[in-house]
């Protein structure tokens, strides 16, 4: 009975491995692609007469995209985001709200990144619901560069490292997060062949032992 169960288990494993392609990929601790905000400059008020009760701000942002792999990585995005840097904010004055300006054309995009760092720039615009502001209100502003938005179909891992602007009494502090720039070895282990081989081998061995013990019994 035990032997029968053992055989069934081995056969089940073999069938599982053959029917379902199992790919175990080890990337270490770090995602393959990462984005970070590497610079923030030119925080300014933009003249806008279309929203008389709001103030329109613009922030110029420098971005780095890191590909930790040794080969080009194609990243699928759900749209061509304009801009592709997002902003959110929490204000000391809780009556204030941020409303980022953004649009996108509705076409799936595919971007290829070379190994290492790719640099780009972006311009983030947003309204704050108070007229005639001349500088950013006190609060925390988080900016991040979108990447890998089609993660449900992409075969890569990613991370978005934000920058944080802290405004207090008009004084601006910016915190950036660095990449852990360690090239990651992508190792794909295929366990199919060794497990199938070992399973078949163990099956053959158990059959051999059983046959031998049957012969021994017969002789006895």
């Amino acid at each position: 009975m035990k032997r029968k169960l053992g055989k069934i288990l081995v056969i089940a494993i073999i069938i599982h491995l053959i029917v379902f392609q199992i790919i175990l990929s080890v990337h270490g601790d770090l995602p393959v692609v990462a984005s970070r905000i590497s610079g923030i400059s030119n925080i300014s008020v933009i003249a806008d007469h279309s929203a008389p009760n709001d103030t329109l701000f613009g922030i110029s942002v420098e971005v780095e995209i890191l590909n930790r792999a040794d080969e080009n990585q194609t990243v699928i995005e759900l749209s061509d985001f304009r801009p592709n840097v997002f902003i959110n904010a929490t204000f000391v004055n809780q009556s204030l709200e941020i409303d980022p300006l953004a649009c996108a054309h509705a076409t799936i995009m595919r971007y290829s990144y070379q190994p290492g760092i790719t640099s780009e720039g972006s311009l983030v615009k947003f309204y704050i619901n108070q007229a005639n502001l001349t500088y950013l209100p006190d609060g925390n502003y988080t900016l991040w560069r979108l990447i890998n938005t089609a993660y449900i179909i992409n075969n890569i891992t990613s991370e978005e490292l934000p920058a944080i602007i802290t405004v207090s009494s008009g004084i601006v502090n910016i915190t950036y997060i660095d990449f852990d720039y360690i090239p990651t070895e992508i190792t794909s282990f295929s366990f199919i062949f060794p497990i199938v081989f070992l399973s078949l081998f163990s099956l053959m061995v158990s059959l051999y032992i059983r046959r031998k013990s049957s012969i021994t019994k017969y002789k006895n």
Binding site: L78, P83, A102, A106, T107, S202
Partner: protein
């Protein structure tokens, strides 16, 4: 037996040490791979004769290729998009497989004056910076709605912080002047359809814009927009809902349906495309996805060039994906409907907007509304037949 136990134990231990990525892909062997981002093979047949599955799925091949229906002179569409170069304009009119007639290019010039260009050789187009998406979208129209008259409305875009990437002319999205011009010229240009394959995060309407939209609807103009690609409710990304202009009751929102089975990227025939967003489940305010059309692997034109051998402007046909193309696809079917009505009635009298909606509902693949699927996709042959008969009855 010990060997068996040992192997089983090893397998379980290894499988239970969850690696960073563990992928199990199961697809029947009949699924094709590839397609999106690849060249369309034999475009003369697959596009020119509409034999690609993206077309045969809805039956547009029957209407256009088999019965030879082209759009008559009394149907005009407005397409709002990023821009067109001189070469793209000419490629849409000259490429061997599918053509439209671009009758005008509306923009806000560098002096902020509304400018209507009718000649692709106009020097203003030499400074076109942002373009390509409009070229691809109109090519979807061209494949189905042959000879359709197109008025292009040009966006101005500043996609990054490098001024070299900024458009020097064009309309800021949502600006009133777009709608004022379209409404003022609706009759003289015989504008029937507006197609807008962009999504926005801001509620940009003003009472003046809403008044113009209302006026256009009263003139039986149908306004179609992309549902968006963020594969969720209200097309959300981060903290923003990119739900405009789908969320406005005046607009009919178009999502994407899969027309074939494919493993790379995902495509499950007759299902909503994985990326296609959806809206409310209550039809009353029309804040819904109305219909779906093929948008996951459809032929589009890219990379316009001048063919020295043929002495024509043309482009490369490739497969692309997005609800942008679903919108253009449905707009093309609407153009066929209006032409069918004209052919039936024997004049250029347009069907009312309500009549067009009735015909679309009649030819829809679903008889009941679904929050994610809307009323499904259009059977183009049924739609054309119905439109023709409606025209006959109205004559």
């Amino acid at each position: 037996m010990k060997f068996v136990k040992a192997i089983s134990l090893c397998y379980l231990i290894l499988a239970s040490f969850a690696p960073v990525q563990f992928t199990v892909t199961i697809y029947p062997s009949s699924f094709k791979t590839g397609t999106v981002d690849e060249d369309v093979p034999n475009p003369a047949v697959n596009v020119g004769q509409l034999q690609d599955k993206a077309y045969t799925y809805t039956g547009v091949d029957c209407v256009v290729d088999y019965y030879g229906i082209t759009i008559d002179d009394y149907v005009t569409i407005v397409v709002i998009d990023d821009g067109l170069t001189e070469l793209e304009w000419k490629a849409l009119e000259q490429n061997p497989e599918a053509n439209v007639d671009i009758i005008g290019f509306l923009t806000n010039d560098t002096e902020h004056d509304v400018t209507y260009i009718t000649n692709p050789d106009d020097s203003l187009l030499d400074d076109q910076v942002q373009h390509g998406h409009g070229f691809a979208v109109i090519s979807v129209l061209a494949a189905i709605a042959r000879d359709l008259k197109v008025i292009f409305v040009d966006y101005r875009d500043e996609p990054g912080d490098d001024p070299d990437d900024w458009d020097t002319f064009g309309f800021d999205y949502g600006i009133y002047e777009i709608w004022e011009w379209i409404d003022d010229n609706q009759a003289s240009k015989d504008i029937d359809i507006i197609s807008w394959s962009w999504v926005h995060s801001i509620n940009f309407t003003t009472p003046a814009i809403l008044q113009k939209w209302s006026s256009l609807i009263s003139k039986d103009v149908i306004m179609l927009t992309a549902a968006g690609n963020f594969c969720n409710y209200l097309n959300q990304l981060g903290i923003k809902y990119y739900k405009y202009q789908s969320y406005y009751t005046e607009w009919y929102s178009v999502g994407s349906i899969d027309h074939e089975d494919r493993s790379e990227p995902w495509s499950w025939k007759n299902q909503k495309s994985y990326f296609s967003s959806w809206y409310e489940d209550n039809e009353a305010a029309n804040q819904i996805v109305n219909w779906l059309e093929p948008g996951n692997g459809v032929p589009v034109l890219v990379d316009a060039f001048f063919d020295q051998d043929l002495q024509i402007a043309r482009g490369e046909w490739v497969y692309s994906d997005g609800t942008s193309y679903s919108t253009a696809y449905l707009a093309a079917i609407v153009a066929l409907i209006i032409t069918g009505y004209h052919n039936g009635i024997g004049s250029s009298t347009d069907p009312s907007l309500d009549k067009v909606i009735d015909i679309l509902q009649y030819a829809s693949s679903r008889s009941t509304f679904d929050q994610k699927m809307g009323y499904g996709y259009m059977d183009a042959y049924r739609a054309y037949q119905k439109a023709y008969m409606e025209g006959r009855w109205a004559a």
